[in-house]
Amino acid sequence: MAEIVAIEHPARRPEGRARPPAGAALRRWSLRGAAFVYLGLFIILPVGVLLQHGFGAGFANLRDALRTPGGSAAIRLTLEMAALTAIINGIFGTLLAYVLVRMRFPGRDLLTTVVDLPFAVPTLVAGVMLVALYGPNSTVGGWFEAHGIHIIFAPLGILLALLFVTLPLVVRSVQPVLLELDPAEEEAARVLGAGRWTTFRRVMFPALRPAIAAGCLLAFARALGEYGAIVIVSGNIINKTLTAPVFITELLQPSAYVRTGGPDAAAAVSAVLFGLAFVLVLITEKLVHTERS
C-alpha cells in the first residue's frame, strides 16, 4: 500500500509558464518556481532515484530483502518500536508542554531549552550515553539486569533511544497551540467545578488533539528512520534487536550483494519505510487541516 502511494507522486513541474503577464505575476511565478525547483532537487529527485532502484525491477528486490534472515523481523520491530515511541511521547510530550506553558516555576526557561537538547545531540552520542547509563555493566543497568530487566542490547534500549530522539517533536508541536488557547476557558471550567483532569480532558484536549496527533505521527516517522542511536544500544541481533535502518546498512555490505539485491534491496526497504512515513505525514496534514477549517 505504502509503495503505491509513493509511486503515484511524480515530480510536479510548474505549469503555464507561457504568456507571462505583468511583472508581479512573473515574480510570483519565479518564487513558486524556486520553491518547486528546491523541492524537486532535494526531495523529489532523490526519492525518485530510490524508487527507481528499489522497484525498477518490480517487487523482486523487496522480496529478496525480506527473504534475507531478519529482514521482515527488522521491519516489524521498527514499526512496533516507532508506534510505542509515538504513544509514550504523545502522552509525556503533551504533559511536558502543559507544564511548560501553564505552570510557573523557577528554571522553567531552562527546562524549555533542555527539551530541544535531543535535536542538538548527535544521535550516536545519545546511544553512547544510554549505554553508559543503562548498559549491563553500569551501576544503574546492572541493577536492572540483576532484577531480570534487560535494557541495553534489548528492545527496551531501542525504545529509550527513540524516546530521547523524538521527544522535542511532540512538545514543540503541542506548545504553540497551547499558548494560543485562552486560559480563561480553563478557569471557567475550574470555577464551574471541574477538576484539573476533567478540565484537561473536556476543555483543552479537544483543542490540542490535532497538534498531539501531528506530533505523534512526526515522532513515529522520525523513529522509523533512526539509525545512529539504535546501532549502539541495540546490539543489532538478527531477529531480536535488529531494526530496519540497521538492516538496510547491512544489505549494503558487498558480501551481501551476492545473496540479495544489495543496494537495490536496500533501496526497496528504504522506500517502504519512506512510503509509510509519507502516508503518515499526509494523514497528519489532513488531521491538522480538518480540525482548523
Binding site: 504513544i87 528492545p155 496527533a213 558480501s255 551481501a256 550483494y257
Partner: protein, 355 residues
C-alpha cells in the same frame, strides 16, 4: 477524522503495546546462574560486518551437521554484525556474545583485557585466525593512473580513498601494509629497514587521501559511486564487489600484508549461558577444510597458512611478497609503538601530511 483516528488506530496501537510487552518479557529469559545445559541451546555470535554471508552459510551447515550427530538437537544462533571495534565495545558493555568474530587481533585483546576472554586464543589452532586475505588497490578500468606499487600512490594529485584508522579497525591493515612493504624494501625508492623512509611513504600516501570514511565498506561504496582514483581495501571485499557486477579492477601490490581475522569464544559469556562447549565446537569447525571452503567461495578469502595464502585462488591473484603482522614485530608493537604509537610512523606521517 481525529475521532476516526482515535477509535480505529487507538486499539490497534494498544494491541501493539501488548504484543511488544510480551516480546520484551520473553527476551528477558536469557540464562544466567548455575550451569545446566539447555535442551535448546542458543549461541550468540557478534561478528564484524564483512563475513555476513559466509557466517550465514557456515551456521546453517554446522547446525544440520550438529543435528545429525546429536539426536536432532537444534542449536539456535543469534547473530549480530557491525564494525569490528564497535562489536568489541558492545561486548565489553555487556552484549552477551558467546563468540566474537573480529577483523583484527587488537580488538580481541580489548575484549580480553576486559576479562571476558580467558582462553589462550593467540596460541590456539591457527592462532584463532579463521579468515585471511590481503590489502590491495581498487582502481578504475584500464588502470589509467598506472598504480602498481605503493610508491605509485604518492604521485601528485592522485585521489586516494582509505578508511579512518581512528574509527575503522580495518583501516589499520592498509597502513600496516604500506609500512611493511616499505620496511621490507619492496617499494622502489624506499630503503629497506629505514623507518624514516617508511614514514615518508605514508606521508606521501596520506597527502593524497581525499576521503577517510568510517569503514572499509564505506570507502569501497564511495569509490564505486565514482569518487577518487584508487581505494585501498581488502582483496576479498573487492572480489565480492566484482562478483556483484562492479567494474572495479583489483591490483595486487608486489608486497602486502596478510589480513588475518580471528574468531574466538568469549568464555565469560559462554560459561554464563552454559554453551561454552558448543561455542568452542563451532569455532573449531571454522578451521576445518569444509568451513574454509565455504569462506573461500562465499567470502572470497585466502587460505590461513601464509605460504598457501600467497598463491592465486579462483578469485584472487598470487602475491609476490605476502608478510604478516608478526613479521613486523606483532600487533602490540605496531599499535603501541612503531606505527600507531605517539611517535609511530603513521602518527608522524599523518601530522606531516595534514599539518
Amino acid at each position: 477524522m481525529p475521532r476516526w483516528f482515535l477509535s480505529r488506530v487507538g486499539p490497534a496501537l494498544a494491541l501493539l503495546v501488548a504484543v511488544t510487552g510480551t516480546a520484551c518479557s520473553s527476551s528477558s529469559a536469557a540464562t544466567s546462574g548455575p550451569c545446566t545445559p539447555s535442551a535448546n541451546p542458543v549461541v550468540t555470535l557478534a561478528a564484524y560486518s564483512n563475513p555476513y554471508a559466509a557466517y550465514g552459510k557456515l551456521i546453517s551447515t554446522w547446525q544440520s551437521e550438529w543435528k545429525d550427530a546429536h539426536d536432532g538437537q537444534l542449536v539456535q544462533f543469534l547473530t549480530s554484525f557491525g564494525g569490528s571495534t564497535t562489536q568489541a565495545q558492545s561486548i565489553i558493555n555487556g552484549l552477551g556474545a558467546d563468540i566474537y568474530a573480529s577483523s583484527l587481533a587488537p580488538d580481541v585483546e580489548m575484549v580480553q583485557q576486559a576479562g571476558l576472554i580467558t582462553n589462550d586464543w593467540q596460541h590456539a589452532k591457527d592462532n584463532s585466525i579463521v579468515q585471511s586475505g590481503s590489502v590491495v588497490f581498487d582502481v578504475r578500468p584500464g588502470n589509467p593512473k598506472h598504480i602498481e606499487n605503493w610508491n605509485d600512490l604518492t604521485q601528485p594529485g592522485l585521489k586516494i580513498l582509505t578508511p579512518d584508522p581512528a574509527q575503522s579497525g580495518g583501516a589499520k591493515w592498509n597502513i600496516v601494509a604500506a609500512y611493511g612493504a616499505a620496511m621490507r624494501g619492496e617499494v622502489p625508492g624506499y630503503q629497506k629497514g629505514n623507518t624514516a623512509d617508511a614514514e615518508r611513504l605514508l606521508e606521501g600516501i596520506f597527502k593524497n587521501v581525499t576521503v577517510m570514511d568510517k569503514s572499509a565498506n564505506d570507502s569501497l561504496k564511495n569509490f564505486e559511486s565514482g569518487n577518487g582514483d584508487v581505494a585501498i581495501t581488502y582483496d576479498y571485499q573487492l572480489a565480492a564487489a566484482k562478483a556483484a557486477g562492479g567494474d572495479d579492477v583489483l591490483v595486487e601490490p608486489p608486497s602486502t600484508v596478510q589480513v588475518q581475522t580471528p574468531t574466538v569464544v568469549v568464555d565469560e559469556n559462554a560459561n554464563a549461558h552454559c554453551v561454552a562447549d558448543i561455542a568452542k565446537q563451532f569455532v573449531d569447525y571454522l578451521h576445518t577444510k569444509e568451513a574454509q571452503d565455504i569462506f573461500a567461495s562465499t567470502a572470497y578469502t585466502r587460505p590461513i597458512p601464509t605460504a598457501e595464502a600467497a598463491k592465486a585462488t579462483d578469485f584472487l591473484p598470487a602475491v609476490k611478497d605476502l608478510f604478516t603482522t608478526d613479521d613486523l614485530g606483532g600487533w602490540d608493537q605496531l599499535v603501541s609503538d612503531t606505527v600507531f604509537g605517539p611517535n609511530g610512523a603513521f602518527t608522524q606521517a599523518f601530522q606531516a601530511a595534514k599539518g
